[in-house]
């Protein structure tokens, strides 16, 4: 390995040395599979937020849609969450990852038909799985609710797409590895490992007792910290330097982040006070606390890359999304470290604080980063612009929505925990519930903003697609007519 930071790959991408494969050719190879992943991701996002609003409305009036078993809180809530994680996040992450891998490797996307089949299968699995949850077939494990007849399909669909990603990486022409490739490679491998472990030990051949809960926590934490974290950061480290046209401040800090996150990050997630042998939650909080190291390193590296160029934020919408994502990564990471302190977790345990924190990571960081990346990639895939007003609307709706949601539930969670832990003041449990209701209801407003943003997102993507296909249709017609006239 040579010592030159491979960050330069990004800046010379515009063709100083004539590459064997041009960016345009790479984009052409990515077009069908990546667009398919993006459009499906956007569709699930919208479905998920509609289900989420139904769940949220139950706190305004529990009698809403109460006689329909499919739409009871305990089913729509997980269905909404699964749509966000598996429908949107994983598909968007894979789409962005494939595009980034092929561009960094300067090689065409390999096995595009396999990816298309994988994406179709994935969406089939998602559809079946969502129905499964709504019909009451949930496995009972958070984040793994989709029943076994769906999870099997998802697993093989993922393997197909993952295989294509690995082959693309393997066939790269630019041998030097950039940090984003490290991150993507690790993420791509890690999901099948954790998913199959969890499915095997929880669903297919269940282990006994509290072991189930440990595995579920381990899975959730690894999916969030490692899969979403690595995939999201791969995009952060690729697109920010690319858009501001300046190499990443330090490749080595990037590698440092990679290792520290892989070593500490995968241990978090098991709450203090759980009915487990004490060493397990204790070890877990140590892991969670140590993630402060990679989190600060991300902040440093991103800031140093930006310094002097923050003004570029105003000229690029994708950059706005991704920079917000990076900010959310750092803030939510710090909150996560805070939450690993016993005195804090005593208050926020079992409250709305946890979903707020998770949403901050999944939405504030990951989804926003993906939106930015998608808005960067799609115009290149289609050689056409996305309506800039549409993108701006999406940005502000998503930003305001996620802030309302996270702040109201975060504060509400602290309030709830404080009241919960003070039985002298509120002996009656209804007092605890009531203390959170104003916050819960405020969060619905956040949900509405977010959902509107998703509608705009889907329209933006479909809009540009329709425009492009109309245009190519009419050019084809013109060519046809010319041919007829000549004949």
């Amino acid at each position: 390995m040579s010592a030159t930071p491979s960050t330069q790959i990004i800046s010379i991408d515009r063709g100083n040395e004539a590459p064997a494969v041009t960016s345009v050719q790479i984009d052409a190879s990515c077009r069908a599979p990546v667009l398919l992943l993006f459009i499906s991701a956007a569709a699930w996002l919208l479905i998920g937020s509609l289900l989420g609003i139904i769940a949220s409305l139950k706190f305004h009036s529990p009698n809403i849609l109460a006689s329909c078993p499919l739409l009871t809180y305990g089913r729509v809530h997980p269905a909404a969450w699964n749509a966000l994680i598996y429908g949107f996040a994983i598909q968007a992450g894979l789409g962005v990852g494939l595009w980034v891998l092929s561009h960094l490797g300067r090689a065409k996307l390999a096995m595009a038909p396999l990816i298309v089949i994988g994406a179709i299968l994935w969406n089939l699995g998602m559809t079946i799985g969502t129905y499964g949850i709504l019909y009451g077939d949930s496995t009972g494990f958070e984040w793994l609710e989709m029943p076994r007849y769906a999870s099997g399909i998802l697993f093989f669909a993922y393997l197909a797409i993952g295989l294509a990603a690995i082959v693309t990486l393997h066939l790269r022409r630019e041998r030097e590895l950039y940090i984003s490739q490290w991150l993507l490679l690790a993420a791509i491998f890690w999901l099948p490992w954790i998913y199959s472990t969890a499915q095997l030990l929880l669903v297919f051949k269940p282990v006994r007792g509290v072991m189930q809960a440990i595995i579920d926590w381990w899975y959730i934490n690894n999916l969030t910290t490692i899969w979403l974290g690595f995939t999201g950061l791969a995009a952060t480290f690729y697109f920010i330097p690319k858009i501001i046209n300046r190499p990443l401040y330090s490749h080595y800090i990037g590698i440092f982040i990679f290792w520290t996150l892989a070593i500490f990050g995968s241990w978090g997630g098991i709450p203090t006070g759980s009915p487990l042998p004490t060493w397990i939650p204790a070890l877990s909080s140590v892991g969670a606390a140590l993630t402060i190291v990679p989190v600060l390193a991300v902040a440093f590296n991103v800031h140093k890359t930006f310094v002097g160029n923050y003004s570029k934020l105003s000229s690029s919408m994708p950059l706005k999304f991704i920079a917000f994502g990076a900010l959310a990564y750092v803030l939510s990471g710090l909150v996560g470290v805070l939450a690993s302190i016993v005195q804090v977790s005593e208050v926020i345990n079992f409250t709305w604080f946890t979903p707020a924190q998770t949403q901050f990571v999944v939405y504030g960081f990951f989804a926003m980063t993906m939106f930015g990346a998608i808005y960067y990639i799609v115009p290149r895939l289609l050689q056409a612009d996305i309506s800039s007003a549409g993108v701006r609307w999406h940005f502000w709706l998503a930003l305001i929505g996620v802030l309302i949601y996270v702040v109201s539930l975060g504060v509400g969670g602290v309030e709830q925990g404080t009241v919960l832990n003070n039985p002298k003041a509120t002996a009656d449990f209804m007092g605890v519930t009531n203390s959170t209701l104003p916050f819960l209801r405020a969060s619905t407003t956040g949900d509405l903003f977010i959902a509107l943003g998703h509608l705009v997102f889907l329209l933006n993507l479909v809009g540009v697609l329709v425009r492009v296909s109309r245009a190519s249709f009419s050019t084809a017609m013109v060519a046809n007519r010319r041919a007829e006239v000549r004949a």
Binding site: P62, A66, T72, W267, S274
Partner: protein, 244 residues
């Protein structure tokens, strides 16, 4: 140099440490767990729940009750679950791993939008109340935000002159000539709720008052082969001594 395989192997080992730590090792430690014999009663704890309670567990899972209810009493000094009266062991001691041996799936829950249900079977051992609460929570707890589970009940038309059956719910707003009766699912769910209790005094949960004397009289290990002294509150299951 091609770093790909190296990165892959390194990552694999780094990530696999958490798999070892949180999947393999705890499983090796916890898989030895067995029901223990409670000295006072001579019964095994926990006992395998009856078929009907098991079916109720499925209903509880299918309807996602655990998104609002936890089933886990936290230790004294960490939160105030015990002070809220959610504990089962004389209301004094937290849940331990042993309590969940037969739970399938284990539904600790992550939220307390509603109260903890670990010991609801001890707290509200009244099936009629439970059914009524499920049918219309607000009828028994005004302003409750728990959703009603009316779809677990059936509205049956009464024949002319027929009296409502014994299991008919005593709720308001039932139109004349009709009765509301629980479906099988509601009945099994209530059986499950009534069976929720973790009250056995265990090795790792010695009674809080005059601990040593009481502990040795209530939970001496059945087989008598242990050299462990009763540890303090939150200890692991390795200290449990299996029944003969």
């Amino acid at each position: 140099m091609n770093l790909g395989p190296l990165v892959f192997l390194g990552t694999f080992f780094a990530l696999a440490t958490s798999w070892l730590g949180f999947v393999l090792v705890p499983q090796l430690q916890l898989c030895r767990q067995q029901p223990v014999e409670i000295d006072a009663t001579g019964q095994l704890y926990p006992s395998d729940p009856s078929g009907i309670a098991k079916q109720g567990e499925e209903v509880y899972r299918a309807n996602g009750c655990y998104y609002c209810h936890s089933q886990q009493v936290r230790p004294k000094g960490f939160g105030s679950d015990v002070e809220r009266g959610w504990g089962g062991r004389g209301g004094k001691v937290q849940s331990v791993a042993q309590d969940y041996l037969y739970a399938r799936p284990v539904m600790f829950g992550s939220q307390r939008i509603g109260p903890d249900l670990t010991n609801i079977g001890l707290r509200k051992p009244d099936a009629a109340w439970q059914l009524k609460h499920l049918y219309d929570p607000q009828s028994v707890t005004p302003k409750s935000v728990m959703p009603p589970y009316r779809y677990l009940f059936e509205k049956r038309k009464l024949k002319l002159g027929q009296k409502p059956s014994e299991e008919a719910l005593q709720v308001a707003n039932v139109p004349a000539g009709y009765e509301i009766v629980p479906k099988e699912e509601a009945k099994t769910l209530v059986a499950y709720l009534m069976n929720l209790h973790s009250d056995a005094i265990l090795f790792e949960t010695p009674p809080p008052t005059n601990a040593v004397a009481a502990a040795s009289s209530t939970n001496a290990p059945a087989a008598g082969g242990s050299t462990n002294n009763p540890p303090a509150a939150t200890n692991g299951p390795s200290t449990n001594v299996p029944a003969k």
